[in-house]
């Protein structure tokens, strides 16, 4: 992460507003962050696919990865690494999440 910017927990939404196995975006610090409900946990990443900036929040969730709706690049939501096509070095930023009193927060 860029130095000099302080991270803090931001309360985003009640968990039921992100349906199971779907993603939603929130605009934070001028950036769209996609937050996914994996059923047992929430994961957050930058909303732009490293390929051609497709909106990852609109992708189909496959296990702990999401498939970009534009050209089916597959990105791991835990690590931000690209799973398909193979041998890609691009990586997207991930954010820590937590659920507190039914509210999803991310650290950004």
């Amino acid at each position: 992460m860029p130095s000099g910017v302080e991270r803090r927990w931001i309360r985003i939404a009640r968990s039921e507003n992100i349906p199971p196995r779907e993603g939603r975006t929130a605009l934070i610090n001028g950036k769209e962050i996609a937050i996914f409900n994996l059923g047992d946990r929430f994961l957050a990443v930058d909303n732009r696919c490293p390929h051609q900036s497709g909106p990852l929040c609109d992708g189909i969730v496959a296990g702990d990865a999401v498939v970009c709706p534009l050209h089916a690049w597959k990105v791991n939501l835990e690590t931000g690494t690209v799973l398909r096509p193979v041998n890609q070095n691009e990586c997207i930023r991930t954010y820590a999440t937590r659920v507190d009193g039914g509210v999803v927060s991310i650290e950004a």
Partner: protein, 804 residues
């Protein structure tokens, strides 16, 4: 003598003769072989003629020995030559071409001919037998929609011919002299269950009718009965039994009763003449089924090659009716004289089973409606096993705890393929020794399941249980997450009554799924349950979550439904106002006679739809896209049909529905084809006096001219044909398979057969399920007012204020 090459002449190029020659070649090729065949075809599988008639196979597909087999084995093949005389003294045969051929050994495999009952007018045009490929071809030329066909004879062959003609569109009546259908194989109860099933298929059955004449002026116009009744008929098939062809045997001076008499070594009364197949009589029995002929051939091959030893001691007669959905099996002596009957019947299910037991051993079996246990009964009949200990489980065996148990319970010597005579042991040997892993390899190595094909699933089960690397033939699985073919998945969803994608993935898959299987399963569930499933939007592509087409910048395009491409000034004004209000960057007239508003933000979609006040055009989904139309009779001076109204009506009937892939349609008022109906998934092409309904066209990545489904007179009939095809495609195509690939894969013949020519009950079922799906569907854009989830269209607003 052993080094002298002997001349073997075979009269008859059918299944029995050629199979025997195949066996002879296995022993030692000490013969110079000549085969005479009066038909002009190489050896083909006669028992599959009914499937050629029904369009399930082509004539080429039933070839058993192609020409290069004869060449490779240096067999002289004389096709189209009928042998008319045998001189047993001079050891010659004479052909109808005048040729005289010398033999050292003669094999008569002359088969049998259709019996001609004493009916006047059998020589009229339009009267056919059903014994040969030529008969079948002639029937195919005459058969078609609306043709009235009468089949005389309600035996195996007659019933299979009747069904074949019916799927070709004929109105078929089967007339049977006896009071019971297939009375040689079935008791009266079994016959009545069978008659019910034939009637359910839409085939009329008349029992106890004696036909006296084929009436008509030169060609057949009707069939007259003893009781004075006359039935209209354009086409008559005589399938009243067979008679062994024994004329040559008489001429050779052989002992002949009903057939050519042979002993257990398959020898006739002349030491240099042998006989095999339907033309022989062994221990007083003439066989008309394939399995005994092949057993005889094996014994005869040993005898004829100087390896005399094996004996033929008769075959337990067994027969299976080869009509899809009408399962009938009969074997052994099922009469109740001196035997104890064991029965089960259920009228509602249409299942009838009867076994006959004598001294604790099975002696006969009749199965109608469920023949899944036929192999078990055949095994018991052949082995004569003592069943006293299993008496309680004769009809209903205790359920097998694992799939391989049924196979494990079968003895090594149990016959799996009755047609070719392949045992379980032989199949296992092929798997171990030849590395067989697929059904097609098994067919090639052992010829198992190349006969009537009824043992195919059993062969699969053995392969599955035994072969180390068993592979389903050509079955592509949907994806690694749920490793089943789409066919199997549809069956699983139906039979296990699964209603949600997540359930399917958890029970039959890896629990997570992916972008390939989730949309496919979503489609299947919606289709199978006619909309009454648990819709899970997370399993749908984004387009189907927000009902718009995602663009490269993440915005969406909006295409309102403009049925038939016909709009109004008011609609156009609203569209223009929306374009202004939302600063739509591009307004485009599409190739589909629609208007596309491009570059709309997701959160604006509900407002845009509300302002438009028009339904979704589904331009974003695997669903019903549009019907293009021309102006038809209203304005065009060439129009012959009101294509505009017909197209709008078709669009109304199909709109809002999901399909395996997108469905684009068109309706044109004349063959000038201005709306390009002949390259659409479904097209209505108006012509003078009616419509052609065409399907499977494409003008995309590939160009394919649509196939003609049917020609009809009224608009309603055209729409109904389109509905039948539409629903059939929904139910049978794989997900992401366009109609042009689907029709290409199945063949238009099969598509016709299972839609417009299908029995009334099948057609009604298709239409009924289409109506149910339609009733459960709705305009997706109504979700703009009542979203399925509060954040369906809008981004999250962080609860606490953050710099944005």
């Amino acid at each position: 003598m052993s080094d002298v090459i002997k001349r073997l002449v075979v009269v008859g190029n059918g299944m029995a003769g050629v199979a025997c020659v195949e066996q002879i070649l296995k022993h030692a090729p000490r013969f110079e072989i000549t085969i005479f065949g009066d038909e002009t075809h190489v050896n083909y599988n006669r028992i599959l003629l009914s499937s050629v008639l029904a369009g399930e196979r082509s004539a080429d597909e039933i070839t058993l020995n192609p020409l290069d087999w004869y060449q490779k084995n240096e067999i002289r093949l004389r096709l189209g030559v009928r042998v008319v005389d045998v001189d047993a003294e001079a050891k010659t045969v004479t052909g109808d071409d005048g040729s005289v051929t010398q033999y050292d050994t003669l094999l008569l495999a002359t088969g049998s001919s259709a019996f001609k009952p004493p009916i006047a007018g059998l020589d009229r045009d339009g009267v056919f037998a059903f014994r040969t490929l030529d008969d079948t071809r002639q029937l195919l030329e005459r058969a078609g929609p609306g043709v009235k066909a009468v089949v005389i004879g309600g035996g195996l062959l007659g019933l299979e011919a009747a069904r074949g003609l019916q799927v070709r569109g004929c109105e078929v009546t089967v007339v049977h002299l006896m009071a019971t259908l297939m009375e040689r194989q079935l008791d009266p109860d079994g016959g009545s269950y069978l008659a019910g099933k034939m009637e359910d298929l839409g085939i009329r059955v008349l029992l106890g009718r004696s036909t006296t004449a084929i009436v008509g002026n030169g060609h057949a116009e009707g069939v007259a009965f003893e009781d004075g009744m006359v039935l209209e008929a354009d086409l008559v098939v005589v399938a009243a039994g067979i008679r062994p062809n024994v004329e040559l045997a008489y001429k050779a001076g052989l002992r002949v009763n009903r057939g050519i008499v042979v002993n257990d070594w398959m020898e006739t009364s002349d030491p240099d003449i042998f006989a095999v197949g339907e033309c022989v009589e062994h221990r007083g029995t003439c066989y008309g089924l394939v399995a005994p002929l092949l057993e005889q051939g094996k014994v005869l091959a040993a005898t004829i090659t100087g390896n005399k030893g094996p004996v033929y001691s008769g075959t337990v007669p067994a027969a299976k009716l080869k009509i899809m959905g009408v399962d009938v099996f009969s074997a052994g002596d099922w009469s109740e004289q001196h035997a104890e009957p064991v029965r089960f019947e259920d009228r509602a299910l249409g299942i009838y089973k009867k076994l006959t037991v004598r001294d604790g051993r099975l002696v006969g079996a009749i199965l109608v409606g469920d023949t899944s246990d036929s192999h078990r009964y055949m095994d018991w009949l052949r082995s004569g096993a003592d069943l006293t200990a299993q008496r309680r489980h004769l009809l209903f065996p205790p359920p097998a705890s694992d799939a391989g148990l049924d196979i494990a319970q079968m003895s090594e010597g149990a016959t799996i393929c009755g047609c070719v005579g392949v045992t379980k042991g032989a199949i296992i040997a092929a798997i171990h020794e030849k590395g067989v892993n697929t059904l097609s390899q098994l067919k090639e190595q052992t010829r198992a399941s190349t006969g009537c094909g009824s043992c195919t699933s059993l062969c699969q089960d053995i392969l599955r249980a035994v072969a180390p690397d068993f592979e389903e033939d050509g079955k592509k699985v949907l994806c690694g997450c749920v490793p089943f073919s789409q066919d199997s998945l549809r069956e699983i969803l139906r039979s296990q009554r699964l209603k949600s994608v997540q359930e399917v993935l958890e029970i039959y898959g890896n629990g997570t799924g992916c972008e390939v299987c989730k949309p496919a399963l979503s489609y299947m569930l919606d289709m199978i349950w006619c909309g009454d499933h648990d819709e899970d939007r997370s399993a749908r592509f984004i387009n189907d979550r927000v009902h718009a087409n995602i663009q490269k910048d993440g915005t969406f395009s909006v295409v309102p439904r403009i049925r038939g491409g016909v709009t109004s000034p008011a609609e156009l004004r609203r569209i223009a106002d929306v374009a202004d209000k939302y600063h739509v960057p591009m307004v485009k007239i599409t190739g589909s006679q629609r208007i596309d508003l491009l570059g709309i933000r997701k959160e604006d979609l509900p407002k845009v739809w509300a302002d438009l006040g028009m339904p979704s055009g589904q331009a974003y989904t695997k669903g019903v896209r549009m019907v293009k139309t021309c102006v038809g009779t209203d304005f065009c001076r060439f129009g012959t049909q009101d294509s505009t109204s017909a197209g709008i009506e078709m669009e109304r009937r199909f709109e809002h529905l999901y399909t395996p892939h997108k469905v684009k349609m068109a309706s044109v008022g004349c063959p000038r084809n201005c709306a390009e109906a002949t390259v659409k998934d479904i097209g209505l092409v108006g012509q003078e006096g009616g419509w052609q309904v065409v399907v499977g066209g494409a003008a995309g990545k590939s160009v394919r001219k649509a196939d003609l489904l049917i020609t009809v007179e009224t608009t309603e009939s055209a729409l109904e044909a389109a509905e039948l095809f539409f629903q059939y495609y929904r139910e049978h195509a794989n997900y992401l398979e366009r109609t042009y690939d689907f029709v290409d894969r199945l063949g238009i013949d099969k598509v016709r057969k299972e839609t417009i020519y299908a029995p009334e009950s099948v057609r009604a079922g298709l239409l009924d399920r289409l109506r149910k799906s339609k009733a459960a569907s709705h305009d997706a854009w109504l979700e703009g007012q009542s979203p399925v989830n509060p954040t369906q269209f809008i981004p999250l607003q962080p609860i606490e204020n953050v710099p944005s």
